[in-house]
Each structure stands twice: as C-alpha cells, then as structure tokens.
Symmetry: C2
Subunit: 73 residues, 2 copies
DNA sequence: GTTTTGGTTATCATAAATGATAAAATAAGT
DNA sequence: ACTTATTTTATCATTTATGATAACCAAAAC
C-alpha cells in the first residue's frame, strides 16, 4: 500500500462519510456533479486519483468547501 | 472562461504564491515532488487540472496542508 | 418472492494529466 | 555585455481518470 493508494482510500472514505451524513445516494450526488455513478462508486472505494475539478464539484454538491472535503488528507 | 478553467487558474496562482513565499524555485519543488518542472510550470499557469495526488505532493513539499493549499478554491 | 433502491464491478473508448525532452524567453547578478 | 538561474513553451508518448453502458449484488419494502 503506497502513499497514492492511501490517499485515494482516504478521499474515498471522506466523500462517503459526508455524503451519508446528508443521506444523499451515490446516484444523486453523481447526477448533480455530472459524473458517472460508477465513477463515483470507484472513487469512494479508493479506486481513483480524482482531479481537482472532480473534487470541487463533489464538495459543492455536498454543501461543503473544498477545504472541508480534503481535511486531514 | 468556464468553471474548470477558473479553478485551474486559481490553484495555479495559489501554488505559485506559496512557493514564492518560501523562495523555492519551480525546479526544486518539482524535483521534491517527483514531477516534471514543465508540468509544474503548466500547473501554475492554470493549464492543467491536477489530480489529488499531485496536489498532495505539492502541499507536502511546500510545507502546508492540503486544506491550506486549496483554501478559497 | 419479487419489485425497488442503492451500490458494486466490469469493459471499452475517449479525454486529459503526466513523463520526458528540448528549445526559447526572462530575470538577476557580476 | 555576458553568464547564470529560472521560467515558459512546445512536442510527443504514456498513463490514467473519466464517460458510457451493462450486468450483477445486497438489502429493504411491499
């Protein structure tokens, strides 16, 4: 498990946590962000190294700032 | 100028500002991050949509947290 | 038990970030 | 002016995130 993989897992968990806190399904969040739901699923599972723009859209639609999204990463 | 481009310009300026605050040349930062100096140049100019891992390496080597790096974006 | 609902996994194509290298431009210092 | 350091720009190959679609799994509802 390298740094990159750890980071991917961490951001994935963070997104999942914030999303579940507001009871928003993956598909809803994905739709709002204009990303594929399968893509979001992989992201939350730590399977991708998302770009800044993807993270920004997720933060916006979760109602948090980008800082809050990447906290402790 | 769309949202993505604005975001790229914003992160670029932020990296540049933080880097210059500690008087670190692009090439030094790039070397520490194991990224190409040309790549960093483009990033600071707003020409790329960097991945989370790239941003994390940059934050680490600038001596700031990821939150601090993406502040106000 | 069979519909929903939410989530996962798989595959392939496409777009784009990055690696690698080189050349040109700019600034700073001597 | 000349040198040196720094940055920018360009190009091409490679890697990878994402788009798009489909099939599958799990749990809860009914």
């Amino acid at each position: 498990m390298n740094d990159k993989e750890k980071l991917q897992l961490a951001i994935g968990k963070r997104v999942k946590l914030l999303r579940e806190e507001i009871n928003m399904p993956q598909q809803d969040l994905a739709a709002k962000c204009n990303i594929e739901k399968s893509n979001l699923s992989r992201l939350e599972a730590g399977g991708t190294n998302p770009t800044l723009y993807t993270l920004k859209k997720i933060a916006d639609n979760l109602g948090v700032s980008l800082e809050e999204l990447v906290i402790k990463l």
